[in-house]
Structures are given as structure tokens and as C-alpha cells.
């Protein structure tokens, strides 16, 4: 079987202890939440951390609560199943519940966490392979090599952001609380993801993602559509998160469209979404908006399905998402 590389294991009981270990080890430590992405990757030697810091015992990372101003704070250690089933999420942020419910299998959703999905390593089928497979090819930019196999002329790694929750959280205007020893900071979701397949998060190794803050929905509707070959479990090869507020007179006063699994980070289609503002959301307008949004999708041949097909589906899925919200 495939064996894990050796590592030191820490299971701190409190948040200060956890961030202390992270500070001590710096980039040599990795956070173990559900482990559903981390451990298989370690077996394939994408990661060989000196230390794993389990956050499974941290009470600070459990639960969902509402604040006085109507915001919702989700602790990063909540499981994907808990998230998908939580009444507050289902009623106010249906797109997030839908996205969480569409991740992988029931077993993985019972183990994997929101924080883990947000921080999910970018994916590429030249990279998500065993050590010997990657060695046969001569490795790649993202790990141990100096070439991007999907675009050999590219100076940049083009691995794909494959989180289902990330595009939704960006569309909902979420902010993330990052805690390190002695300090913490809030980062808007849209700034948390970087357009770089290697350094894909605006997060230092010493920092721990502890909370996701969602602003009040303020009359918006949201949805998430996911494309993949196998409905029972697969990463997205395209995700579309959409948020709309449509006033009683039918006029759209807020719109957000975010594409997932279409680039190294969730792509925010503001040019397209802005076309909706102040307008009645007609099918004709939706078609134009979808065409505009799909311009941002630049899929490459590094995940499932033909990339031309995925590009074409970006337009179809945006159209379907907006149609659903406009009904």
C-alpha cells in the first residue's frame, strides 16, 4: 500500500497552543483538520511536512452562531455535513449549503471541514499523481520540477482552484478570520485566493483559518451549480456561484457571479454581474450576462472533461444559475 512519510504529530487542546506550534515550525508544519485532502496528498508526496498540527480538539473551531447585526459566524472546523444541514445556512445562504452538500461523498463530508475545503490545495492531473508518476514525467512547477506540463510555456503554475465552497463564499462577500500567535486579521474572501497555482492562498503558514464571517443576506437569493462527470463524488470541473437581489418591482439591485474550478482562484465576474444592476432580469439579459461571465473561464486540459466543453458549459451554467434565481 502507499505509506505516509514520517512526521511529528501535535494535537493541541487550545487555539493558543495550536498557533504556537504553527509559529514554531513555520512552513514545515501543516494543519490537519479532516485530513481528507492532506493525507492522500502526503501518501503521494505532494506534502512531506515535518509536523502535523491537528485542530480536531479545538473547541474554538466548532459551531455556527449568529451575531447581533445578523451576520453569521461559522467556525472553520465544522464538518461539511454539518454545514450543509444547518438551518441557518440552508435558509439564509442556500448556495453554501448546496455547495457543501455537493462535495465528495457522505463519508468525506462527515470528516472534511469547511476550513479544509476553503484551503483545499489547487488541483491538476499532472500534479495529483503518485511520486513515481510525477517522477516519470520529470515533475512539474508546483512540486519538485520546473515546467508546467499543461502549458509548457507558462512561467506560472496553472493548477485549478477546486473548492466548491470558495466561489460561494466569495459571492456571498464572506470574510475569513486568520489567527496567528499574538495577532489575528480579517481578510475578505475575494482577497484570500491568489491567482497562482502554487501560492494560492493569501495566508502565512503560521496562520490558522478559524472563522468564516458571512454578512446578512439582505434580501438576496443565492445558488450554486456544479459540473462533474460523476454525480456521487467528484471535484468540480466547473462551479458557478450566483447571488441576486431582485426587488418587488423586478429590478435587480445586487448581483454577484463567481466561477469556480475555472482558474487558479475563483473568478469574479463583476463585469457580467454589473449588467444586471438596475435592470429587469429577463431571459435575454441573462443570455448576455452569461456570455460575458463565461469570458472569464479559461479552462485548460488538466482536469476531467474536454476543456472546450468546460468553457462552453460556463456560459450554460451561469445562464441556468441566473434563470433559477430570477424565477
Amino acid at each position: 500500500m502507499m505509506r505516509l512519510p514520517p512526521f511529528r504529530y501535535f494535537a493541541p487542546a487550545t487555539l493558543p497552543e495550536a498557533v504556537k506550534v504553527l509559529a514554531d515550525y513555520g512552513p514545515a508544519a501543516m494543519v490537519l483538520a479532516g485530513g481528507t485532502d492532506l493525507l492522500p496528498n502526503m501518501k503521494r508526496r505532494q506534502f512531506t511536512p515535518q509536523a502535523l498540527v491537528s485542530v480536531q480538539q479545538l473547541k474554538e473551531l466548532r459551531g455556527i452562531r449568529e451575531t447581533e447585526n445578523g451576520s453569521v459566524i461559522i467556525s472553520a472546523g465544522i464538518t461539511l455535513h454539518e454545514l450543509a444541514a444547518h438551518p441557518l445556512i440552508v435558509s439564509r445562504y442556500p448556495a453554501l449549503a448546496q455547495a457543501a452538500a455537493l462535495i465528495s461523498t457522505p463519508q468525506i463530508r462527515n470528516t472534511g471541514t469547511l476550513g479544509g475545503n476553503v484551503c483545499l490545495d489547487t488541483r491538476c492531473n499532472y500534479y495529483n499523481q503518485s511520486y513515481s508518476w510525477r517522477k516519470a514525467l520529470g515533475f512539474c512547477l508546483k512540486k519538485d520540477g520546473d515546467i508546467c506540463w499543461v502549458a509548457p510555456g507558462s512561467a506560472k503554475c496553472l493548477a485549478i482552484s477546486s473548492s466548491d465552497t470558495a466561489p460561494v463564499l466569495v459571492s456571498l462577500g464572506a470574510t475569513f478570520l486568520l489567527v496567528r500567535q499574538g495577532s489575528e486579521r480579517l481578510v475578505p474572501a475575494v482577497d484570500f485566493f491568489r491567482d497562482d497555482g502554487i501560492n494560492y492562498l493569501n495566508k502565512d503558514p503560521e496562520e490558522l483559518l478559524t472563522e468564516v464571517h458571512l454578512p446578512p443576506p439582505q434580501g438576496t437569493r443565492s445558488t450554486y451549480l456544479k459540473l462533474r462527470r460523476r454525480g456521487s463524488f467528484d471535484f468540480p470541473v466547473l462551479g458557478v456561484a450566483a447571488v441576486l437581489r431582485i426587488e418587488p418591482d423586478g429590478v435587480c439591485t445586487a448581483a454577484k457571479i463567481v466561477l469556480g474550478a475555472a482558474a487558479c482562484k475563483p473568478r469574479v465576474a463583476d463585469n457580467a454581474a454589473d449588467m444586471l444592476i438596475g435592470q429587469k432580469v429577463t431571459q435575454a439579459l441573462i443570455t448576455l450576462v452569461a456570455q460575458e461571465a463565461a469570458k472569464l473561464a479559461k479552462p485548460l486540459d488538466n482536469t476531467d472533461f474536454a476543456y472546450g466543453y468546460r468553457k462552453r458549459m460556463a456560459e450554460v451554467f451561469v445562464r441556468q444559475a441566473l434563470t433559477k434565481l430570477a424565477e
Partner: protein, 787 residues
Amino acid sequence: MNHNDTLIGKPLPKVDGLAKCFGTTKFADDLFLPRMVYGKILRAIHPHARILRVDTGKALARPGVLAAITRSDLSIKYGIMPTSQDETALAVDKVRHVGEAVAAVAALDEETAEAALEDIEVDYEVLPPIMSIEEALTAQVRIHEESKWGNAQKEVALEFGDPTAGFAQADYVREDSFFYEGSTHLPMEQHAVVADFSPDGKLTIWSSTQTPHYVHRALAKVLEIPMSHVRVIAPPVGGGFGGKSDPFPHEFCAAKLAMLTGRPVKITLTREEVFYCHRGRHPVKMWVKTGFRKDGAITAMHFRSFLDGGAYSSYGLASTYYTGALQTTTYQIPHYKFEGVRLFTNKPPCGPKRGHGTPQPRYALEVQLDKAAEALGLDPIEMRLGMLTPANSETINGLKVTTSGLRECIEKVRDRSGWSEKFHQLPPGRGIGFALSCYITGAGLPIYWNDMPHSSVQLKLDRSGGVAVFCGAIDIGQGSDSVLATVVAEELGIDPADIRLVTADTDLTPVDLGSYSSRVTLMMGNAAIEAAQKVRSLLFTVAAERLGCPEQDLSARGRKIFSRTDPERALSFAEAVQLAETHFGMLGAVGSYKPPKLAAPYKGSGVGPSPAYSFSACIAEVECDPTTGLVNPVKIWIAHDCGRAINPLLALGQVEGSVYMALGEVFMEEQVFRRGLHKIPSLLEYKSPTTLEVPEIETILVESLDSRGPYGAKEAGQGPLLPVPPAIANAVYDALGVRIDEIPITPDKVLKALVLKERGDSLRVSVPQFAFPAPIRWQPGEKEKRP
């Protein structure tokens, strides 16, 4: 207690079912021997390269490493077919696909063994890889330099009757080209082996294999040990589907490492390594020209197939013939020509996967018939009903069909699915499609030429009333253990639970050729009946005397032997055994089965003959989204003529499993290679359906009792896969009006086809040119002819 009581036809649970549910079944990887060490295999990183140097010096110096082997340790060639022995356990002069075994180490633990692989130095001279059928046909470089026909492993040309005359009689002739993508088996259990070499020079291996007898022969040959000193035990196998039917490098390596270290050695493959063992479905390009009369009857057929064989021959000889053999067992084809060629490419070798070489031509044939029916203005089902190969007939290529429940299969799915209200009448985006098929119940000939039995069973009865049954057959999940226990229990009138099975152990059990070609129930079942009836006759002899009634009046049921006319006169089974042992001495019996001589007298006639043929008919209903191209199967109706369903529960399971596997092939699976590497050698990325992707399956068993099968039984394990892919393709056409003449049917192909349809065009499959040899000509009644 009624002498008419029978176990045959009862949906009994599997005899090994509880152990599997409780997780106590011991598969090969569950075995641990004292002092056992671990082996790992270094695999090729180039698809095609000459090996200049292999140096294991550094690996051997690593603490914890006990032995390392290379080409000089295992250089004797082997191969499953006697005429194409082109494999070595460790690559000798060249590597021919990524993942081919190059060296192996044994170490105290897996981590050390894995680390030691990194220490092995291999120098390669990289050669141009050949990655497609077309490249294999045109490339100057040869994958096997000694091969006769360039990169063609096998060329076949057969002609039956007078196809030219047949086409001249046709009212309508059409030519179509098809591509059936390759796929792999995906057994849940990865291959594993434990080898133990004792100081007296005896080798024992426990291996997850479908063919312990063939592994036994190959081990003796490669390791140069007498067969009598080699013992192969196949523990329960966690799925095979054809992927564990060849001897494999890890088996030889574990054995050699055990011999060198004097310690038991275990090698368990990773999932990625299973993709490199492969022997899966051949990607096949096909061209078929068929002549029809106005009523749909076929006047002649010319079928060509091009098989992408991968790097080695494996079962390729048989695979090639199978792509042309069974067209005639479903439809009357009065004149038939078949040409086939299997090409070497630098990919993991293809071989037998559920349906071995027949799902590909079946796809081509059934989709073409659907097109022809439309062109002729006929209902595709009615058209077929008019041209079925009748029972008890001989086909133009000399195959002798015994029973056939095909007509009943067709009528059942037609009626149950509501075909006549649905075909051409469902709303846009929804469609229904039909296809049928045929498969063998065991190959008429063994892999290596001999006149000995194909399966034998030995019984030993003890005084407690227990019965030990010994047979070389291996249960790979299909339920052969249950069939064996049921058959013996049926004949002896005891409960299957009273039976202790000893199977698949070349030291203890008589030979059964293995779990392949859907042969086990028929051949092992017949052997078991013979053995059990022999021993029952001994029991009846003593019981008749003790009970004072004639033997013909006796029945064995409910653990008793009793008079049918006066059931009060009875002995318990154990009493009867004790009496018989007193009278005859130790009680036992053997039974054997060998198929009748079936092959017609022409060269190449050995592939296709079978004691009996199974038949299937399938109707698929699908819904298609023309904006996304996604196709969703709504329901599958499938009827399968398995002869007598000895255990209908197991037969249903085989049919449903076949449908699952077919849906994976038709919608998801692709053997894609980039830069010489398998693109997605993992269970996450290589897609196959789960329960959630599979629609409701309505299975109908049709029981045409075949006198050649035990209680009339035929096969159920492979045939039901065959009609599903073409039924889906025909349903997609009914739904959207587009033909997808290749699998998998992916949404991008559907969208492309819709765009082409707007322009009055359609998707096309290209088929290469090839100069086939002059055909061998034969027709029924003729004596042997050679070219």
C-alpha cells in the same frame, strides 16, 4: 421430506457471504507469515526505452534491505498463450510501457522497500513511443523487434460462404465505422501475493488470481522448479473481471525474493500498479459492411477490427478472434468475412475483460442494425426477430448453437418496457433503445493444448456426515463456491452448510482451469455432479440393503436417505456414510468434465466454440439534455438466458453487475495516455459509476434448459454486459437524433454531434487502411482447408 425438494433454483445466500459482510474473509493481503518481509517493484518511467544498465548496489546497502533482483534473475519468457510467450517478469532488454517491472527489492518493511527503489539506478536509451493503432501501423520502430509482422501481433482473415455473392443479393448495403474505447477492470481488491520457499526446495504462493493452474505452470517454467515443487493457492479473490487471469511479474518477483532471502515475501500492489498490470478491454476500431434484404434479413457481412493491444500479447490472439466470432450466433448471416489485426503499442497490455473481445463488435453490430432498421423503415426489434439464429443450428463459421432463449428475452424486455408505446414517441430529449447479444459458456478449448479434463472435483465423506469438496475452481466473487456447495448438496441430499470447500490449491485440489470465459458453473458443476452421483450410488447400495428396498426407490433429501414409496424407511445421511465406509472403506469419489469436440475444421476455429451460449436482450431509456450534452440513464430492462438459474440470487447479481460495468464503459471510462503515461491511474480520477449513477435495473431471467449444463445451466457472468452500451447509444439516437458511433458517450461528443446534425453531418470514426492476408475459406460441411 419430499423427494421433489430441490436446492436448484432457490435464492440461497452465498456460502461466503457472511464472512465478507463481517470482514473476516482472508484475502491474499490479509495473510501474515512469521518472518515475513515486503517486496516492492521498481517500474519503468518511459513508455519505450532500451535498458542500458540496472544497478542495485546502493539499494542492497540500505539497512533493512535483504535482496534485490533484476533482469538477470528472471529472464525466462512466459505468456498466457503458448504461442505468444513474449513477457518477462523483469524487463530484459527494453521497457515497453510505463509501469513495466524493471527491478524488485525485499526489505523488512514497506517503507524501507519503497525507499530502496529510489536507490536503484537505471540507465535508459529512450526510443520513440507508439501510442495508437495508426502509429503502430505506420511507425518504422518496432516494439517487439523479433516479431514477424512489424507491430502487428496477430493478423486474421477468415471467409465463410461467398460474401461477394451475398452482397450482390442485398437490397440495401451499408458501411459504418465504430470505435470502442478501452477500459480497465477495477476490482476492489488490488493484486497481492505472498510467497514462501521452504528449505526442502518447495515453493508456495498465495496469490489473488483467477487462474491458479496457469500461474502454477508459469512459475515452474520461469523459476525452473519442477511443477511438483510449486504450490499455488488462490485465497478468495476480491473481484477479477479478467484482470487477474494472466501470470504477473509480482508473482514471480515475490517467489524469487523468497527463494533468495529464505523468508516469506509479500507484495501488494498499489491501485496505480493495478492500472499497469491492466489486461483490460482492448480499444478497437471497427468497420462493418452489411447487406440487407428489404425485410431486414442479412445477406452478407464483412467485419474488420483493429485492436490496440498494448505492449504484450497476453490473451491477444484469442481477443482478436473474439472480435469476429460471435456475430453469427445471434443473427443468421449466410455469408461472412472477418478480418482482424492486433497491434502492439507502448501501453499496458490489454487482455480479457468481462465479455473478452465481444462487447466491441457487439456495439458496432447493434448500432448498425438500428441504423439499417430505420433506413428500411422497420421496427428494430421486429426486424431482429425475423433473423435470429435458431436453436440447435450451426452458424456459417461453424459454431454450434444448442439452446437459445433469445426470442423470449427480446419479447420480455419489449413488453416490460412498453417499447411499442415509447419508441419514437417519447418527448424530446427522452429516448429508448434496444440491443441484444450472445456469449459463450466456457471456451471449448483450454489455453494450452491437451486432452485432459477442464475441471475436476473430488469428494471426501466422513463419518460425521460432513462432506469435503476439493476443486481447483476459484471464487472471484461470482459465487462459484456457492454453486459448488449447492450442486454437491443437491446430489447428496444434504445442506450446503454441511459442506467444507477446499478450492484453488494446486497441491490439494484437482485442476480446474480457472475463473475465466464463463466456464466454471458449467464445467465444475458437471464435474461435481459426476463425483457426487458416484458417491451417492455407494450410499444407495448400502442403504438399499439396510432399508430393504430397491436402489431406484431411494432418494437423498433433508440429510436423509429414504424410500420414496415409504419415506418412513430412512437412514440419516451420517448413518449411511458410516455403513458405506464399513462396507467399502474410505469414501470418496472424483468427477471430471471436458467439453465435447466442437471446433470446426479450419485454422482459427478454436475461438468461439462453446458447450452452450447465453443470450441477452436489453432496452435502455435515457434522458438527454441538449444544452449540456449530459445523458442520464432512466431505466434498464435486461433479460438474460442463463439456462437454469441454479441460484437466481447469484444470477441476478451477475446481470446487475454487468449492467454497472457496461454503464461505466458507455459513459465514463477512458484509457487516456499523455506523454506516454496513463492520464488518470486512480479510482478518483478514472471514473466509474457508483450506485447513485445507476438507474433502476429490471432483470428478467430466461431459463432455456441446456442439456450440456448442470441442471440446464449456462452462464450469467459476462454476457449481460454486451447489449447495454449499444442499447444506450440507440436510445440516445431516439432521444436526440444523433449517432455516437464510439464510446464513451460523453457530453462534449453529444454536443458536437448536435452541431454537426444542424449542418446535415454526423460524427465519424476513422478506420485505418491495412493489407490483410488472403483469407482462409471455409463453409459448414467442408473438410479442413488451409490457405
